[in-house]
């Protein structure tokens, strides 16, 4: 492995005559470019969400603090959650879906390249729309970002109780972003089902692709429910309906059910892809196949399935009655079983392996530990009577950050270190990586572990300050210090990502000696991915032919031995010859869909349609905007027709 990593032949990073320039990125339909766009955009949103968290932590560092006002505090914690969930972590996973799924299954692109571009542009515009509330002071108004918590419990979010524009940005922004998720997910589901390379049976798919499939089924279904929930809230706020109006009999439980039917699958939407990534990283750096691949697949499916039947454990404190409480407590405990299976299989993968502690591996191992901690406090929540004590305290904040940060973020960073060389052709710096790793791991524990105690001591979440004599002071200060450590680590990471892009060590096609198809092609891959589509005979195609590893490849069956196998640049030792990797798709006679600007125009139309519904004057700064919606509808209609009849697609 070391020898291939240090080979500095220029052809791996040499350009493949792909078009360049901003316009080529705006009109691109290449899944790899869209993946990079997703990654860069969502990383920037991650920094924004992190900044919001830092402001919250500074405010809470000392008692009776007046660093920020209560109103701004509400906006910051709400936007921190929304930004992290919808604009940073979900799209970061989408960046990996985009880049990796076609490469892992041996395809030239996703099933619907233009829809893929559309999802990205809707996400970008929706993300900007979401944050407009913070920018209103620039237009002479007050900051009016969403301020009622990311789960936006009605009726507190109806116009009666939140008269400002704050929650209008919430209901409209989420419809825009939700649309992007649904479109993207349909695309990935079809891509995985329908565009696999010859021989890539379902049970030979890389485990990451499997988890992407389960995740996207969850998104398509859960997001639909959420879209209706926010539509109903939107109608309440804008057209005077009574869905959540208690004066006319509207039931607060209706919102909670609709929200959490989406909200709990959402938790698995954020963790299942990460489980897939970790399941790719651990075998590579243990030099062993994934332990119990079949069981890993089925427990992933089971988690997705059970994830639909546990939503009311978020609502134990509402008094649903003993039957419902018991049911949801049991189903929640049940979901710990497939999760536990996965944890033990990861340990089994490492057991007896030749482990290399690279940064990617460190993050994956830390993921297992931290996610297990978060899972254990999750099982504590499943005990309904105990949950009554924990509801709305910092204990919940500790739990959710152990699964979101200790789970999703650590896993994502593992994936970044692991796949960055494939995407940019250069390695991230390992020394900086280790600094980043330790700052992040120690920082997150210093930040979030004390929150368990704060919660059990009775500190409620979502308060902007607290009194001096409650015993909260030390642990809050500790958490703030920890959050600054995380920020420092993140800055190191950002620096590493930025500098390695031009100056990192040249990676070569397979720097880690990994086993899946994406490592069989140059880094970065040519625009057409595979010169010839690979024929797949086992789960770990690149470990075939290596007798020391082949024996251990599960289902590395040879029933298709007679088939002639042609692999373009199959292993790290056999990269593309120079002349071929520099050839464009056109030279090779490979049909790729031409670029299109209709995705970005259609996304603009959709965003304007929803955005214009904020038709109330913004503190006199901007006048009625309803005509923007009309413009949006026209633009949407024109783009859909132009899209449908665009030549070459």
């Amino acid at each position: 492995m070391a020898s291939t990593a240090t080979v500095a032949t220029p052809h791996h990073v040499a350009a493949h005559k792909a078009p360049t320039g901003i316009w080529s990125w705006i009109t691109t339909v290449d899944h790899k470019r869209i993946g990079i766009l997703y990654g860069v955009t969502s990383f920037l949103f991650f920094l924004v969400g992190g900044l919001e968290a830092i402001l919250v932590r500074i405010q809470l560092a000392v008692p009776n603090n007046d660093f920020i006002s209560a109103e701004l505090y509400n906006q910051l914690f709400t936007m921190h959650a929304l930004t992290m969930i919808f604009l940073a972590l979900m799209p970061l996973t989408a960046a990996f879906f985009n880049y990796l799924v076609p490469l892992q299954i041996g395809a030239r692109d996703v099933a619907f390249p233009r829809l893929n571009a559309l999802s990205y542009w809707i996400f970008l515009f929706g993300g900007i729309f979401f944050n407009i509330g913070f920018l209103l002071p620039l237009f002479g108004g007050e900051s009016q970002a969403p301020n009622a918590g990311w789960f936006a419990y009605a009726p507190i979010t109806t116009r009666t109780y939140t008269p400002g524009l704050n929650m209008d940005f919430y209901v409209l922004g989420l419809q825009i972003v939700g649309l992007s998720s649904i479109i993207a997910s349909l695309n990935f589901i079809i891509t995985i089902i329908n565009l696999r390379a010859p021989g890539m049976r379902l049970m030979r798919m890389p485990i990451f692709t499997w988890m992407v499939l389960v995740t996207n089924v969850l998104i398509v279904t859960a997001m639909a429910v959420f879209t209706i929930a926010v539509t109903e809230l939107m109608f309440d706020r804008m057209f005077g309906t009574n869905f959540f109006n208690p004066a006319k009999g509207g039931d607060p439980m209706m919102w909670q059910h609709l929200f959490w039917i989406f909200g709990h699958p959402e938790v698995y939407i954020l963790i299942l892809p990460i489980m897939g990534m970790v399941s790719e990283v651990l075998p590579t750096f243990s030099r062993k196949p994934l332990f119990g691949y079949n069981v890993m697949v089925f427990s992933g499916i089971l988690i997705g399935w059970l994830g639909w039947g546990v939503w009311s454990h978020h609502m134990f404190a509402t008094g649903m009655g003993p039957i419902a409480d018991t049911f949801f407590a049991l189903s929640t405990m049940l979901i710990a079983i497939p999760t536990g299976i996965k944890i033990f299989n990861w340990l089994g993968t490492m057991w007896g392996g030749a482990i290399r502690f690279t940064t990617a591996m460190n993050f994956s191992i830390a993921f297992i530990a931290m996610f297990t901690l978060g899972g254990i406090s999750g099982v504590m929540h499943s005990v309904a009577p105990a949950d009554l004590q924990q509801t709305d305290t910092y204990f919940v904040v500790a739990h959710l950050h152990y699964v979101f940060f200790g789970g999703t973020v650590l896993g994502l960073w593992s994936g970044m270190y692991y796949w960055y060389p494939k995407v940019f052709g250069r390695m991230l710096d390992e020394r900086l990586g280790h600094v980043h790793f330790w700052l992040t791991l120690i920082g997150m524990n210093v930040t979030f572990f004390p929150m368990h105690f704060l919660g059990l001591f009775g500190m409620p979440r979502r308060i902007f300050t607290y009194a001096d004599n409650l015993g909260f002071n030390e642990m809050n200060m500790l958490a703030t210090v920890g959050s600054l450590m995380i920020s420092l680590g993140t800055l190191v990471f950002a620096f590493n990502l930025f500098t390695a892009w031009k100056r990192g060590r040249v990676a070569g096609p397979n720097p880690w000696g990994a086993s899946t198809l994406e490592w069989s092609i140059p880094s970065p891959p040519p625009e057409y991915n595979f010169r010839e589509l690979p024929v797949v005979r086992s789960r770990m195609p690149l470990w075939e032919g290596d007798p020391t590893k082949e024996a251990a490849i599960p289902h590395g069956r040879h029933e298709e031995d007679t088939q002639t196998v042609s692999f373009a640049g199959k292993t790290a030792e056999m990269p593309f010859p120079d002349d071929e990797s520099k050839m464009s798709a056109h030279d090779l006679g490979i049909h790729l869909p031409p670029p299109s600007y209709w995705p970005v125009v259609l996304a603009a139309g959709i965003t304007l349609t929803f955005g214009g519904l904020i038709f109330r004057p913004l503190d006199g700064a901007l006048h009625n905007l309803w005509y923007v919606s009309i413009l949006g509808v026209v633009l949407t209609a024109v783009s859909i027709y132009s899209w449908a009849f665009e030549p070459g697609h």
């Binding site: 329908n194 639909a224 509207g250």
Partner: protein
């Protein structure tokens, strides 16, 4: 996907089917879309059923089938707000338009352009008549005192049936577009999938109405 495109796609996947399953990706994606739509409508229907009877229970208006509604002029009506015979007619027309859809696809697959255009337009006509009934119904209800904000029944009824009506509207525009394309000879039998997918959408919109109609209109 025209012939040339299909040939190119075939060249891009040498020695293998165009897709893993041999099914067209667009059709498969449309089934996925319908799955997602089921949850959209399912959530609306769940809201409707969750709130069913609550307006009356809370004294926020009479039962939709009973008299006692106060119209905009302030007169108390002695009949229910829902007109079952009227909506039965529009339901029948919408369901019959599905038959027209089947015929349209059949003629498209056979390459009978004239009949294909005719039945595409007939399908769109059926949908338009249904929409006309719905416009009449909504205006009528509004005049008889049922609005979006009058009570829970008004909110849930208008959002659910309005959401369905929006789907029918999109479908009518979709079908007219296809009819124009077919008239210009842009939908030969090899491209009948275009009509088939429109058919999937149209039948789905009909099936959803078959769920909505009894739940909202027939069950008291």
């Amino acid at each position: 996907m025209d012939h040339a495109h299909a040939a190119e796609a075939h060249a891009a996947h040498p020695g293998h089917l165009d897709t893993t399953t041999g099914l067209d990706s667009r059709k498969m994606a449309f089934w996925g879309f319908i799955g997602s739509e089921c949850l959209l409508f399912g959530s609306l229907i769940a809201t409707y059923m969750g709130y069913k009877g609550k307006s009356e229970f809370l004294g926020m208006g009479p039962y939709p089938h009973d008299g006692g509604w106060k119209n905009r002029a302030g007169e108390v009506m002695n009949h229910g707000i829902l007109d079952i015979p009227l909506t039965t007619i529009s339901t029948f027309i919408l369901l019959m338009s599905s038959v027209a859809m089947v015929l349209a696809l059949n003629y498209t697959q056979r390459g009978d352009r004239k009949n294909s255009v005719l039945w595409l337009l007939m399908t769109a006509l059926g949908g338009s008549i249904f929409l006309g009934f719905q416009v009449y119904e909504f205006t009528h209800f509004y005049n008889e005192g049922l609005t979006l904000s009058s009570n829970l029944f008004g909110s849930t009824f208008f959002l659910l049936t309005g959401f369905h009506g929006a789907h029918v509207t999109v479908g009518v525009i979709y079908l007219i577009t296809l009819a124009v394309m077919a008239q210009r000879g842009l939908i030969p039998p090899a491209k009948a999938l275009n009509v088939e997918i429109a058919g999937l959408y149209w039948h789905f919109v009909d099936v959803i109405w078959i769920v909505i109609f009894p739940l909202v209109y027939l069950i008291k």
